[in-house]
Amino acid sequence: MKIQLLFFGIATDLVGENSIFYELNSEETVLALKKELLLKYPKLKNIDEFAIAVNEEYAEDDLVLRENDVVAIIPPVSGG
C-alpha cells in the first residue's frame, strides 16, 4: 500500500526531498514507519527528534497507517 511522505525544515535538507510516494508492505504503525525511515535515511538521526503527522494531525506511535495517508516528518518546530 502506498502513502505520501512529506519532509519539512531540516528533514528536507537531510533527505533531499520535499515529498515522495512510499510503499508499505502492510498496514503498520507510526512507530514502525519511524524505524524504517531511520534505516532508509540514516541522516535523519542528525535531528534531535522528529514527530509524525498523519493527514495534518500529530500522530501517536501506535496509530496504524492506511492507504493514501499523507505522512509528514515534523522536526522540532521553531515558529514565533
Binding site: 512529506l6 519539512f8 525544515g9 531540516i10 535538507d13 542528525n46 535531528i47 534531535d48 503527522a53 495534518e56 494531525e57 500529530y58 509528514a72 515534523i74 522536526p75 522540532p76 518546530v77 521553531s78 515558529g79 514565533g80
Partner: protein
Amino acid sequence: MKNTAVLITSEKLKVQDCYDFVQDAACGGIALFVGTVRNSTKNKEVSLLDFSSYEPMALKEMQKIADLALAKFQIHKIAIHHAVGELQIGDIPVIIAVSSAHRKAAFEACEFAIDTLKETVPIWKKEHFNDGEVWVNSHP
C-alpha cells in the same frame, strides 16, 4: 460573528490588522505580543531568518490554539498571524492579539497562545549568519 483570525502569509504582518480584528466596543483591553527578528542569537550576528511552514497543518494548529484560548480564558476575540519567507532584522514573524473585558484574561490568553504556538505549530526557522545557516532547535 467570527471571533478568531488565523493567518499565514508571505506579506509583511501589520499590528494594526490584528488590533482592528480584535477591537470591540464590549472590550476594555487588548493585549498584544509582537515577535521581532533579533540581530543576534547566542552572541552570533544574524543576517536574516527564513521561515517555512506545513501550511495547512499549521493553520489547523493555530486555529486549535485560538479555539482553546477562547475556551480557557474570558476573552472576546483572538488573532494569530504568522509570516513565512525571508525576514530581515526588525521584521515581524508573529503577532498575537487578544481582546477582553478585563485585562488579566487578555494577558494570560496572549501568553498562552505564543507559548503554545512555539511548541506545536509546524513552522520552522532557519537562521542565516555570515558564515552559514542553521535550522533552529533541530540539532541535538
